[in-house]
Symmetry: D2
Subunit: 141 residues, 4 copies
Amino acid sequence: MDKAALVSRTNVRIRFSETDAMGIVWHGNYARFFEDGREAFGHEFGLDYMSVRNEGYTIPVVEMTCSYRKSLTFGEEITVVTGLVPCEAAKIQFEYAIYRASDNELMASGSTVQVFLDLEGQLQLVCPGFYQQWKRKWNII
Amino acid sequence: MDKAALVSRTNVRIRFSETDAMGIVWHGNYARFFEDGREAFGHEFGLDYMSVRNEGYTIPVVEMTCSYRKSLTFGEEITVVTGLVPCEAAKIQFEYAIYRASDNELMASGSTVQVFLDLEGQLQLVCPGFYQQWKRKWNII
Amino acid sequence: MDKAALVSRTNVRIRFSETDAMGIVWHGNYARFFEDGREAFGHEFGLDYMSVRNEGYTIPVVEMTCSYRKSLTFGEEITVVTGLVPCEAAKIQFEYAIYRASDNELMASGSTVQVFLDLEGQLQLVCPGFYQQWKRKWNII
Amino acid sequence: MDKAALVSRTNVRIRFSETDAMGIVWHGNYARFFEDGREAFGHEFGLDYMSVRNEGYTIPVVEMTCSYRKSLTFGEEITVVTGLVPCEAAKIQFEYAIYRASDNELMASGSTVQVFLDLEGQLQLVCPGFYQQWKRKWNII
């Protein structure tokens, strides 16, 4: 998280439906935890999905990576730490760290990149004005 | 399936991601198999989601029941049998039977009811014309 | 909820991943909300999945019904009310009501029936002792 | 796919439940398509989940990346191309390319790394014998 300019934390409880026949959380479900992290970040700093949409944009994920260190199991609670990585391009970059809440053990880490589409689905090559303003507000170069 | 006027069959392979920590398919995932059955029915008889949408309607599910008899596990293939139950109201009623493909054992059964909304989300109290025609075409009273 | 002997309430925030292309929560995902309700009930009254498993049983769902009244959308928060319906057979019956937290509007209702399997997967025709004791503790006939 | 030593192709139809409120396939669901690709590869070349398990190992995913180029929508069919990337360590590396079946347009690409655990969950630092044999059989150095 050393590159992150702003960081948010949120706790999530593992659902039974998120486990698989290996008895652990199915690896594809971590995308949900990252999304929980992004939404928590967005609510804390005013960059959630609905706020962005009200500005006339959607922000689909175009890159995702996840590195799994230890298995999560049903009944556990996790802390998702979500950090915004400064970037000059018309992109939003986050990095994530998932900790087991009970002992603060690092379970997984990852990253996403999102782009801006207008409501006709057109890719924005230049940062939308509202996002430039948002970055200035939070002192992100 | 004795009440069904039209019946369609489709095969589906269980995904690993559909299992849970009991080692069996998570019960909530059967809604996906019913949806697979509806879509196969729709493609066979011209009542799939996109066709209905092109007529200016969406058909959300407003009732669902599922009765689970035997557990499904990863690697198994199922046959979803989907039957349309005749009904005079502005509704689409299906019943479903899920068989294990390898030995034709009945694993689960269920039902759904769908209604018609126009594209403004308004509930249709009278059967849309296209659906009346569709029923006549297939001799469903 | 008039048949319920014990009732628990829990709040759940709708995830973006739970929506579908109609812009609403995909109907199959309500099984997750019911499961959230059961787990909250279980934690409140000592009948959660892990407690039951520690007694030597799993409790798979064998019946589920859901009745959808109004659509849920992303960003909403729901209150899941979960009530245990008394029953003499070796079964656990719950009924559920899902309210939109913002205005307490009833969005959906449903029910589940669970049975007891021992750890070899054998169906229990008689209520396990621990569950009899649990019912006595909470004054459920 | 230039690094891949063995390649398999399989077709998958997009489910309605896989879409989100943007009207496209939710990005987290691509993990399912990669898993479909791995299983198809496994069935073609004898390295599917159940075969590996019968040898006494599970092969959890420890790294995943996904790069999204174009959106997938409901009703589309995709071709998942799955290639095994040779590697000397006790790991299984795959790369994936997802094409829209109708016009062979590249929609997404990605990769996974899996490790070997024995049935006690112990990480294997040396390639299990069965996998060494499997690699020899298919002429993978």
